[in-house]
Symmetry: C2
Subunit: 342 residues, 2 copies
C-alpha cells in the first residue's frame, strides 16, 4: 500500500488469446478476482450494476470456469459416473441408457464418465474407487441385488447415487425400475387369453432383485388364471444365447413341453425361438411367446412374438434426473420411479 504501484490483484493481462480466467475478466473490468468470482455466482454482496458488467464481459470473452480449479478448491467434480459391467454387454442395453443419461446431462454442467468393471464379483471396486478418489459427484449403478453392498456403502457415506433396479434393504434411495412384476403378469394374462395352459419363464438370474419381481408377477398370474407354471431353472437371461438355445431345445422336445413362454430378455428370446424351431415347433401354432424387448427388432422378424417394450433410454433419463435430484438435496423418496411396458 505504501508502495507506489498499488499492485492490484489482477495485474497483468497474461498473454493474448489464452483461455480467459477470472483474472482476465478482473483485469478487463478493473475489479478484483474475488469480486468477479462472486459476481458471476450472483452473490448478494455485489452491486447490481457490477454484476451486469462482469456478466457481459464474461460472455464477451467466452469465459468458462476451469474445472480443475473448481474441483481442487471445492471438491465438486461436475461428473456423474455410470458404473458398467463389461461383461453385461447384453444386447443394446447400455447404449440407450448412455444416450438417455447424456440427454439430461447435456443441459447441465455435468459430464458423464464411464467407470467399468470386468467381473460381477468386482462390482464393488469401481464404486469404492469413485468414493475414495472423489472421482464424481454422483453414481449410477445397475443390476441391483436385494441386499446390495454398493448401495450399503454409498448410503453409509451419504454419497448421491441412483440405481437401475430396486433393493430390499429397508433403505430409501433414488431408483428407476421397470415394472417387471406388471410385465410378467400381463404377459401371462395374454398367454392365458390365447388359451395357453403350461407356461414357462425365462427369468433373470436369482441374485438380481428383479428376478423376484418378475417371478412374483408370473406366479401370481399363473395362479389367477388357473394355469400351470413349468419349472425351469437350467438357464437364465444371463446365460449365453447358445446355452439358452440348447436348454430350450431340450425343454421343448419334452412330451409335456410348455405351450406358452414368457421371456425376460429380448436377446434371450432369439435363442428361445431358435431352440423351439429347431425341434419343429412353431410360434403361434404350438406355442405362444411374450417377450420383453429393449428395441423393436424382434417384432420385425417374428411378428408372431408378442412384445412389450422396456424403454431403456427413458430409464437413462430418469436415472440422470434422480442422481441430479439427490445431489440437489431432494429427498430420496421423491426420486423413485417405476415404468410400465409401452
Amino acid at each position: 500500500m505504501d508502495e507506489k504501484n498499488k499492485s492490484r490483484q489482477a495485474a497483468m493481462p497474461s498473454t493474448l488469446n489464452e483461455r480467459p480466467t477470472l483474472k482476465t475478466i478482473a483485469f478487463m473490468t478493473g475489479l478484483g478476482i474475488t469480486t468477479v468470482s462472486r459476481a458471476l455466482k450472483d452473490a448478494p454482496d455485489i452491486g447490481a450494476e457490477t454484476k451486469e458488467r462482469v456478466r457481459l464481459v464474461a460472455k464477451q470473452v467466452g469465459y468458462q470456469p476451469n474445472r480443475a480449479g473448481v474441483r481442487l478448491r471445492t471438491g465438486k467434480t461436475n461428473v456423474i459416473s455410470l458404473v458398467l459391467s463389461l461383461e453385461e454387454e447384453v444386447m443394446g442395453l447400455t447404449s440407450p441408457i448412455v444416450v438417455g443419461i447424456s440427454e439430461i446431462l447435456a443441459s447441465t454442467g455435468y459430464h458423464l464418465v464411464i467407470t467399468p468393471y470386468r467381473f460381477s464379483k468386482d462390482a464393488l471396486a469401481p464404486v469404492r474407487y469413485v468414493l475414495d478418489t472423489g472421482a464424481a459427484d454422483g453414481v449410477i449403478i445397475s443390476r441391483t441385488e436385494p441386499n446390495d453392498p454398493r448401495v450399503a456403502l454409498m448410503m453409509e457415506r451419504n454419497f448421491p447415487f441412483a440405481t437401475h433396479g430396486r433393493t430390499e434393504m429397508g433403505l430409501a434411495h433414488p431408483y428407476h425400475d421397470f415394472d417387471n412384476e406388471g410385465f410378467a403378469y400381463e404377459a401371462v394374462r395374454r398367454l392365458a387369453e390365447l388359451g395357453r395352459k403350461r407356461i414357462v419363464l425365462l427369468q433373470p438370474p436369482q441374485h438380481l432383485t428383479f428376478h423376484r419381481h418378475m417371478r412374483k408377477g408370473f406366479d401370481r398370474a399363473v395362479r389367477d388364471f388357473g394355469l400351470e407354471a413349468v419349472p425351469f431353472n437350467s438357464v437364465d437371461i444371463d446365460n449365453s444365447l447358445v446355452d439358452i438355445r440348447a436348454a430350450f431345445e431340450t425343454l421343448m422336445s419334452d412330451s409335456d413341453a410348455p405351450d406358452g413362454i414368457v421371456s425376460g430378455s429380448g436377446a434371450g428370446s432369439i435363442a428361445v425361438i431358435a431352440g423351439l424351431e429347431a425341434v419343429g415347433k412353431r410360434l403361434k401354432h404350438d406355442v405362444d411367446m411374450v417377450s420383453k424387448v429393449p428395441s423393436d427388432f424382434l417384432s420385425w422378424l417374428r411378428p408372431e412374438v408378442i412384445t412389450m417394450n422396456e424403454d431403456i433410454r427413458h430409464a437413462g433419463r430418469e436415472l440422470a434426473k434422480a442422481v441430479l435430484g439427490r445431489i440437489a438435496g431432494t429427498p430420496a423418496e421423491e426420486l423413485q420411479s417405476l415404468s410400465k411396458a409401452i
Copy 2:
C-alpha cells in the same frame, strides 16, 4: 531458517483418515513434498533407497494422485473423450464401442468421458468444446466424412485424436476402419456364386466416407463378376426402419426386382427382410442377401441371410490404442488400422 523451528515443508499430519496426499507421505517419511513427488515418478535425482521407501509408504496408505491437482498444474486431464451423436443410436453400435474403449483404458490412468451432440449439423461443437476447455487429452470421433471439419480442426491444433472411419484430406491421422470395400466385394462375390444377377446395395449416406468405400467394392465386384447393379438411392442405412421397409417393398414388387441384396447395416437388414417378405418374396428362393452385422442375432432368426460380422468392440479397442499412441507421440502412420469381416 533463523527461526527456531525449521518449519519443514510437510509440517502437520493433517487430520486422520482423510485421503492421503503427497504431504501425508512427506510427513510420514520425513522427506520434502517435492522429493516425494519426484520419487514417485522415478526421477533420476532421487536416491534408490529413498524411492523404495516412498513407494512403500505410498502403497501402504493407498496414495492416489489427486486428478484436479495434476490437471490444474500440468494441464493433463487423463481423460479420453468419445464424441457421440445422440441421434445415431443405430442398433447396438455405441455400446460395444464403449466397452472396447473401456477395456483398453482400464489398465491406464485414463477415464472415458462421453461428449454428446444432438444433431449432425452440430458435430463440430463438442470437438470445439473439448479443444477450447481442455476437457480431454484425446478425442475419438466416428461417422467421418471425406472432408471432415473436425479432423481439420484437431490437426490444425495438433490435438491427439482417432477416428472411426477414414477421411480423404491428404492428412495422416490415426484411424480405425472396417474394410467396407472388401466387405461389399466379398458380399457381391457370394451372391454371384449363388447365381444371382441383379444386385442392389443398401448403402451408407452419401456424405460419409465409408459410402465411397462400400460403393467402390460393390461396383468393382459387379463388374468383375459380370452382374448388374440395380440403381437404388431412395433410402440409405440412416433412414428409419419404417422408411427402408417401405422402399424395399416398392423395389421388390417391381417386375425387374433385384435377386441379390447387399445390406450395409444389420438393423437395416431387418427392415429389408420385412419389406421383401411383405410382397411375398422369400430369402434363398427369390432373393439372396448378404448383411453386415454388428452382432449375431440376425443369423439366429434368419439363417438364410449370409452375415459378415463387423467387430465393433474390437474397433473400440483399436481406437483407444490409437489415441493413446498419438498422445504418447507415435507417428500417425503407425496408428492406422483396417479390419476385415470375421
